[in-house]
Amino acid sequence: MKKILLILSREYRLRLRHPSFWVLTLLVPLLLAALYALPVMAANRNARPAEVLVVDETGLFERSLRSSDELSFRRMPSLDYAHDHMADDSRIAAILYIPARETTIPRDAFLYHRSSEPPMALQQSIAAQLQMLLRNAILEDVYGLDPEVYRSVANTDIKLHTRDAATGHESFARVKGVLAAVLAVLMVLALVVFGVQVMRSVQEEKSTRVAEVVAASVHPVQLMVGKISGVALTAITQLVLWVLLATAAIGAIQRANPDLFAQAREQQTARTLATKGTDATAQYNTSVALVDETVQGLTAINLPLVAGVFLAFFLLGYLLYGALLAALAARLDSDADALQWVLLMLSPLLVTLMLIPLLVPDPDGALAQWLTLVPFSAPAAVVLRLPFGISTIQLILSALLLLLAFLAAALLAARTYRRHLVR
């Protein structure tokens, strides 16, 4: 045991001393904080609105186009005049030209821009306004319908609520589906990153020929267990630091600007209403409902349980793959062969990821249950099913099978390790 602790300690300290550990430890929380704050900050920006000149030969649109914080329209009498105007004024982003047609309903509109194309959001905003105005015109002029009446009918929506019959609680299947996919991807990434670290460590000992000196002092199994444990401790340290630092960074952003989200929400509302008219209210309500559903869905999920099971299956999966990758590294004579073997060894996890589109809609189906019980795919399959609820018996059975697979893999790996580490 003392020797295992010595090896564990060396592996752990070596990794903690390496600059890449700290670069990654600091970079990931910063990236998470940036992902959290940048879209909101971008939404809060107060950029000058892009000016678009409008030449509407149909006369259907020019009076109804609405300017907003991002976009302002100015009518022009002719296309030539507009071109001259744009050549003289660098603030003008583009010319919107709607040519007259022989039929009453225009089919095409053209956006003439400078050498750089206008942003996609601006193009979409203009297209949405034209679409709405054309539809209103057709409703009124051709069918004699009041657009407001049409809108109230078109926006009629019924939401199907899925609820647990026993508890009456909402299921939040969409939120759970997204969380399941995120957890599965995180699990596979963590297993690959830290499994490969074990492999690299064995490869280093083999290539530097230290392996034979160490093998003359400790049993190969002790060496393997010490290595795997050392990297596991590094992984846990890094995960904990990521959570703490990301929480601190996001907390600092929130403290520095408590109204960040409220401002963004208000600006987005104003922008949407201005550019799309009252139609946008329904869309806005839908997006707010989606956010509310996400928050409610996450609240309804037992997150500490999810985190605990995630950690437990990460450790079991890591032990299994760590042992196999250590044996693989001991077996291989060159780094060149390593990648294809690693991909082959990790393929059960990768296949489970590829099956996400089939597993999320049917998390209790036969395929999901089989993948849960197969130890090589279990870590990803279990966390994929976890947000939807997985029976305790299946969870325990899966963990036991994973543990047994690890013990079998450890024995096999130890034999390979002993036979091939020193040649």
């Binding site: 390496h18 000992e205 530097t208 020929r209 003359a216 002092s217 049993h219």
Partner: protein, 203 residues
Amino acid sequence: MLLQADNLSKSYGAHRVLDGISFTADCGEVVGILGANGAGKTTLLRIVNLILEADSGTILFDGHPMTRADLAAVGYLPEERGLYRRMRVGEQVVYLARLKGMSRADARSEARAWFERLGAADWWNRPANRLSKGMQQKVQFISTVVHRPRLLILDEPFSGFDADNAAMLRAEIERLSRSGTAILLSTHNREAAASLCHKTLQL
């Protein structure tokens, strides 16, 4: 008798590498193991180190069947040797000594003494990849003897050593032998064997 090997045999597939090898090594004795390349010298030394298992035969250490616990009293310098590239060499020697069962304090003071003795005190905090090959060879030798082994196993110890380091190594082998350490030394150099060894085993 410190080490007694009886009737050791080992095959790799159909190829029989060792066939009924027996020898003894007593305290202070230098035993030369001679043979051409591929004769089985390294295999024999790995069996004595318990890195490989013999197909048949026995090894007695201090009168009892040798176990992994006895490895604490064995020092091993393999033919293909190396160091952890980025680890500081002082720390590395202490680590290897602790794997042999020494306490941290003992390992540290003994390692310091060896570094001083071989004129390597300034290298203590340098990582191995910042040392020349000759310097690394000295550190490798220190890591072999730092835990005061009763049996020292040296596989082709002079291969790759420059003349100065070879002379240093020879002097240390003689000194360790005088102080009672049993030494198994494999070599294909008959002159070195004749001048250093008390007896030889031809494979």
